[in-house]
Symmetry: D2
Subunit: 337 residues, 4 copies
């Protein structure tokens, strides 16, 4: 931690801070320029993070150099984390493709999607049973019935299934029926849910929040890791900006950054990021050289009649066509499907 | 709803959409320009909100004219909602001031703050027992013990108490000890929690999410109102933007907009919005002519040693000084403390 | 400047940087923690700003502690700059109100507005002769004829006039006819124009860019000040965010921040900030306790038929009504109209 | 244009608007729902864009359906524009790579870079002679001497040269020495400069502004095209968001969107977008499947001693290595270097 003092802070103010830090158990180093004095603070992560020095007299700025996460960092673990679910795998050279509808709507819909995306090369099946909707007047999902249909469809096609935990109280039920537990963008900083998932033994798919920084995503992952669950998959799905042509702004540089900062696998969701069917295929392909370890794509047998996210869903043929283009691109990055 | 067709959409594409809408029970009106055709769609809110037309062939854009909320709107209820808590009141001409520390830390701290802010004119006491922290290594709050200390301090000073519900599973416990249930910015779209609070009989203080639009705040309020709980207080606390000098960007025009769009009372939190002690007093005063019905301010007897948010907390004297300047400004807007 | 080294940077990397800095004429101080080393760099502003150390081996982050401006800062000049134009004054306790139409459209329009806003208490007249428009198909202003009409209207009402310099090649012409030279938001970082205006002897009204930070506004002001022109008025007019209900997001905390950081007067433009007529009056009044030294408001005798910005213009009566409410609010801040 | 009326707007208000529009020469179509009335407005682009209806009594919202540009759109020209400069070409299946230092610093530097990037496969040479810098205390470029060095280096290596026009008054001088005229992000809405460049006969490289929407980029391109200069290259270089890990947020979905909306070639600048050397190569490669027609990359023989943008510059070897990976990826998109 670096404490930048105001111009012409008094020697008493500086001494007051140094004394306070020594009492707290930290070490200090002074750097005094003509106009600026900077106090370097050294100590354990927990100690340094518990110090809130911004309010002291004479302080201009406090800069945290230590990251707010540890277990998620490459410094802690250099080799890639590989998440295995049944026969499927994400990370460590395996590029995983998760596909399926926004929401589970019927047995027929799920069986049709599952068979089709499996044939096209998907490695997991997605489908929402509990749907977060901005308006209470929109379709909220089929709940437990949806979970069961998802499971059945996944089993019949031989695909592990991914679904969202919307309410921490449902976490155990969801874990009974699903293989991967998704934390939605709106819950990325629902810390109680993250702690709960940290105690479970199922992989967690953590979506980036709409206004979450790269560092905050890693801090949220840390909540799960700290609980003992080491199987966390990060998901870039677009951030909220001033641009309105796309639903969100897909931040592929964040994917490249995650690959440097963390050992956790990272996947990309171009459906939610762009909200536009015609941008999904190019963004899926762009995610690959950005460093992604996989994709999650919305696919629906009849997007026109989808109860949610139709405009950003591919139909079965469009997904198959897209999937057929991934192989050579993945291979160029030294990975395989 | 307005469906804007692509330039030169075919008559068959237009007819296909019109047929689909009629089947769904909606009425349509066509507006055909030289290059653009627009289909107006008329029907019940629930029906129109269930239609996802963006994916149909030939569609360029879908514009929703009906708002995703109803109960929260001025069209539904013209007169201001007034929230009453014990002797305190917010809205309908009464300007409420909620003050207290970021987190409950000790009995001594709480008793001291409560007596002091009461004397200075605050109408409610705040204090966090469960703290949402980006990093799992930061102080997480005292939990139930904190709730009890908050209650005791409020009772001793004769102030109703406000605290955050961080986990939906704690909602009932919090409701046992607190008078107003706060939903934090990170939970503004935790729809399951909003639904739960909608069934309770305690007022809800709903903070705007870091990347939530004005319309989304009102949609979240709608979740609570739809459950039967009509006592919702909105809170503007800054949105996330590119500016880094302040912690967030306080959006006072949103306060003025809320007063036009909704009958719910609106308060302002300059502590979280700015994150800087020296900006709190001017922003408190600016909130008044913007239309605010109240304030929520972080106050700590010893900000230097606060375990959270010290840099944005006022000490007891600074709060008393600020509070003494509010009266004439509130009066100029035709309201009273 | 602080140079934060990567974890476990080698002693050679650190020495390499220290040597480079000493050669360049800077002094260094080392702060070595268990995992992090930080090099403090001390020297002249120009020297330190010319060092780009981010690319050196082993560097994790470079933090600039010295501000990129000097003349604009409170440290350089503690007392408020007061800008005087004829009888009018902005800053140093005088609250100035600049009013007039978005664009000059006709002699009749300008004479009517000028007389009316003068009667209502405005201290300067605004009007655009050269208009920046996103689309080349929109009205671009009357040019020189507009300048002359603005001058005539101002003279007849006894009001100094403010207008935008859109093209650096027109700066001298504009300076012949106008009293205050406005730099629009889109030109805030048109550094060549800023330098040109720095050599002129007319006050400059510098609008904040749509995505400019507080520090960048002050750096742009520094370009003008450095040229010798000390009469710069800053103008907060909203920044671009994800919120679409308002045209931009008015950042009143930036006004309070500017009053701390700089001695230059600061005014607020609620017309462009909100883009909505019904939000202008509350935002004008909120600007006062935020610390503003004045306002700039769009006023048109017939907003329905305005050739630009009609939706955010007040008519003559609405402006008069608004103006009549400012006095007591300004007085409460210890200022006067 | 669609005019959405407020709920329960009076028949008189609706008629008033319809009359006004008919007088102005536009046609109208009414769509009346139970609560909402929408007026569709049809007419010539110039006419419709001159109507500002937001201020009329009873109006809730005005939605513009016609785009503010025409010549830039795919509807106007379906086939790709190909920009040819000497032997080099961008667009229409040819992927162009522009490389060179942020700023021209010396003859030696330029000759070394030019020869090296030519050998690595670059098709044009870049280098800044006039540098836009936020702070007046930073290095501002070598000016005319820089232009001449750039020309000489390009000629010696057989590469056309690209450089920025920072001041409209220098446009002709720059055009004398350079082959492609760059408009920097900060000047993207300097409409007077765009108009000037529209009259010239050299290709224009138009960079996206930090807070410019996709539509605004196309409107700015329209200014150049309308002047008669049809050779415009768009450049995505990142937008300003809340994320601070990267200098800006690279918006690759905008690249895919541009390829749908416009016939103009689009290139990507990962150096300015990310500001971090280690993210440049992955983002260069990700730009290809996103649809880019080329790249512009900062390359310096000695990034440590670069006078500007060192931290985001590749050295000669790193660029050569990157360039060697582009061929197969470009081929997969059906293009060639």
């Amino acid at each position: 931690m670096l404490i930048v003092m105001r111009d012409h802070a008094s020697p008493e103010q500086i001494q007051h801070i140094v004394d306070h830090l020594h009492l707290a158990g930290a070490e200090t180093h002074l750097s005094q320029g003509e106009v600026k004095t900077v106090i370097g603070v050294v100590g354990e992560r927990e100690l340094v993070y518990s110090l809130e020095m911004e309010g002291f007299p004479g302080v201009s700025e406090v800069i945290r150099v230590l990251k707010p996460y540890k277990l998620a960092g490459r410094d802690f673990q250099a080799e890639d984390t590989v998440v295995r679910v049944g026969d499927a795998q994400i990370g460590g050279g395996t590029f995983g493709v998760i596909a399926g509808p926004c929401s589970v709507e019927s047995r027929e819909q799920m069986m049709s999607v599952a068979a089709s995306v499996k044939a096209a090369g998907a490695s997991m099946l997605r489908g929402g049973a509990y749907k977060p909707r901005s308006s209470p007047y929109a379709f909220q999902g089929m709940g437990l019935d949806g979970l069961k249909l998802l499971r059945e469809a996944g089993d019949s096609a031989g695909l592990p299934v991914v679904t969202e935990v919307l309410d921490v109280r449902d976490a155990e039920t969801v874990a009974e029926w699903a293989d991967v537990l998704q934390v939605g963008a709106r819950n990325m900083q629902n810390f109680m849910m993250l702690e709960e998932l940290g105690t479970m033994r199922k992989p967690v798919l953590l979506k980036r929040g709409l206004s979450a920084t790269i560092e905050e995503v890693l801090s949220s992952a840390e909540y799960v890791l700290k609980g003992g669950n080491r199987d966390v998959i990060l998901c870039e799905r677009g951030i909220r900006t001033f641009e309105t042509y796309t639903r969100n702004t897909l931040d592929l540089a964040a994917v490249a950054a995650f690959k440097i900062l963390t050992h956790l696998p990272v996947i990309v969701d171009p459906s939610h990021a762009t909200g536009r069917r015609d941008l999904i295929a190019p963004m899926c392909r762009a995610a690959i050289p950005a460093g992604a370890d996989g994709l999650i794509v919305e696919v629906h047998p009849d997007p026109e009649h989808a109860r949610c996210d139709g405009p950003q869903s591919l139909d079965l043929d469009a997904f198959a066509e897209l999937a057929s283009t991934l192989g050579p691109r993945v291979a160029l990055e030294g990975k395989h499907l």
